[in-house]
Amino acid sequence: MNQTAKTACCSGFVTQSRWNPYLVGIGLGLLSWAVFGIVNNPLGVTTTLSQWAGAVAEPVIGAEGLRTNAYWAKELPKWDYGTFFLIGTFFGALVGAALSRDLRIEVVPAVWRERFGSSPAKRLVVAFVGGLLAMYGARMAGGCTSGNGLSGSMQLAVSGWTFFITMFATGLATAWLMFGRRGSSVRASSAESQKERVA
């Protein structure tokens, strides 16, 4: 923990790949104070993503189709707070990764490769299906890790904590089915050093 104070003060802070996770958690907590207090808009992602999905569907189903859909009628695509927030998220991660020299093309991540091999097709198909399930589930639950897990839980919402605990349980079961109990030689540290070599 002494390391925290040491690294926080030093010039490496801007360029280092990894900030202390507790400091990052405190940062997200303070960011929550700001978004609640200043813009009255809790951290959240998937409500906005549903609007973006509507924008993608619009050329096919038409503007009328969007307006008459029971869901999109409430969440029509628009340049609103949520959309600008996600654009900011993209650029925050981009600038962060550029400054720490962590920008790199990754098709098959280390942990996946160790278990399932380096076939891009396999990884990309599963990523697509996974993204689909994550989004569908998040919308049914009323929010994702941000809207329910963070914002909901910190407001002591029943929905937030129910979401957090349930998704962790099925996530654990999924990881167990996919990776089994056997140990892995690829841990975050070696995955990281691998990335540094690429960068």
Partner: protein
């Protein structure tokens, strides 16, 4: 200046807050497939550390803001069947995708191609949800719908007691994690 800020000024702030969010996710290493999947394998506790700290720190601040009249709550309805089913699907999705929606967007920005493909999957999921919404709304969201309830409402335990309990749990869990699997020191600054 009157709060909350709305209109165009709030859109500028949206970019600023989003930027900080993305930066924190990237530097917190949670915009990394390996970190997220290894959390669910109990090989890396970064996600838990980040989220639990954020919930306790954020929650205490938001509670104070709310009690002093400076913030409104935004409670999502506890449609229990929908939340349990949805969260269950979400957990499967998060581990197979390797990201959650927010960290997925951050990962796309750092160059993750599979995060981008999964992002397309998320848009497809959003379309499917909208198309199936009428049915889901009628048959799932209406079951065990408790409304916008909070833990203090259903337990009778006061807000501040909840945060003392949560902070105590966090302290114990973090202490145990650091004993068994210490936070990795940054490669820089060593």
């Amino acid at each position: 200046m009157t709060l909350p800020i709305t209109g165009n000024a709030s859109l500028v702030l949206a970019v600023v807050f989003g930027f900080i969010f993305g930066l924190l996710l990237q530097r917190g290493r949670v915009a990394d497939y390996n970190t997220i999947v290894n959390q669910f394998r109990f090989k890396d506790f970064t996600v838990l550390k980040v989220m639990f700290t954020a919930i306790v720190v954020g929650g205490i601040g938001v509670l104070v803001l709310h009690q002093t009249g400076h913030a409104a709550y935004h409670i999502k309805p506890a449609n229990m069947l929908g939340v349990v089913l949805g969260a269950g699907i979400f957990g499967i999705g998060m581990v197979t995708y390797g990201y959650c929606p927010g960290t997925g967007i951050a990962a796309v920005a750092t160059g993750s191609v599979h995060a981008l493909v999964g992002f397309a999957g998320m848009l497809a999921g959003g379309i499917l949800y909208a198309l199936s919404f009428s049915w889901v709304n009628e048959h799932i969201l209406s079951v065990a719908a408790l409304g916008k309830v909070r833990l203090p409402d259903v337990t009778g335990i006061a807000d501040w007691v909840w945060f003392i309990i949560l902070a105590a749990i966090a302290a114990v869990v973090f202490f145990a994690i650091e004993r068994l699997a210490p936070t990795q020191k940054s490669p820089v600054g060593q």
